[in-house]
Symmetry: C2
Subunit: 188 residues, 2 copies
């Protein structure tokens, strides 16, 4: 049995907008940085930024390159270590294939933040399963108003949403990624 490995994907398409239209959201600088730092802290293998838009892919590459090779690499080497995890992918399928190629086995696709879906795994259940080893995970995080039904249909596992202390749970994707990674892979 082999040790589990995981990667994360931030999905900019296909996602819903406020009116449940399928759209492509814009990449934001802080999503790149905050999520890369969390990914590095909790031991992700890769952080895929999924967007089909060529200009957006180029923007991500330019930002990452600044911190990897430019002035930023000297100014803040710790940021470089985080951004080294970033891989641009034109689609979720491309990210999945890249990960399968790196690891030599198919990852389980894990959808996060699915309120009220039947058959959800709790984070404790997935943490236990990951600790047992033997499978890899690609954790999917949506932008905008959430990932489409099409993505749910292709997922292998669906994770419960993060709940706080009441019925308000509108965390930023940056907060949600951080909490999920801590619950699944954090040391206590």
């Amino acid at each position: 049995m082999t040790v589990s490995s995981f990667s994360i994907a931030l999905v900019h398409h296909p996602v819903y907008d406020k009116n449940r239209q399928v759209v492509t959201t814009a990449v934001t600088n802080l999503d790149i940085h905050d999520i890369a730092r969390a990914a590095r802290t909790f031991g992700a293998d890769r952080y895929y930024i999924v967007t089909p838009v060529a200009e957006q892919q180029a923007l991500v590459s330019r930002i990452v390159s600044h911190w990897q090779h430019g002035w930023g690499a000297t100014y803040n080497p710790k940021r470089k270590a985080a951004l080294d995890l970033v891989t641009v992918a034109p689609s979720l399928e491309a990210a999945r294939q890249e990960m399968a190629g790196r690891r030599g086995r198919e990852p389980k696709l894990v959808v996060t933040g699915a309120a009220g879906r039947p058959g959800c795994l709790t984070t404790a259940q997935l943490a236990e399963r990951a600790a047992a080893g033997g499978e890899d995970y690609l954790l999917l995080f949506g932008t905008g108003w959430g990932m489409t039904e099409e993505i749910f249909a292709t997922a292998d596992l669906v994770l419960e949403p993060i709940t706080g202390c009441g019925d308000y749970n509108h965390l930023s994707v940056r907060s949600a990624v951080s909490i999920y990674l801590d619950r699944l892979f954090g040391r206590r």
Copy 2:
């Protein structure tokens, strides 16, 4: 015995810069939004944004007001619910006094993210103490390169840092707040 209540403070002064000079950092829009959303999700009473700079205080008020009373309040009522928690404070002492006044008792000042300090509480220890009730907490989060020794000296409790799976732990303050609140007050 009364139920515990907690608030959080994002400290822009006094904090260290990269060269351990004491500085005042700039408020950022996403710190306001992300941390307010996490604070609301996990049941904080208030979210104090601490800065002695009048222009920065006015900026925070203007952003919050946009979502409370302006166009934003109609566009996204959930954002309004989060930003309703924001209170600008000119100093940590002012935040502490405001909280003591609201609750009628002095909160414990809790410093977060203190790597390698002797006598640190674990998040599990503080979660248990908070669940037992009877005291309030003001959780302090630093910006820049961390809060000054002066703040450590006045704190009542010091919380262990968030660790991931190795020796890299350079989370953004937005991620760190989210994880601490989940560990202390999240439902599992």
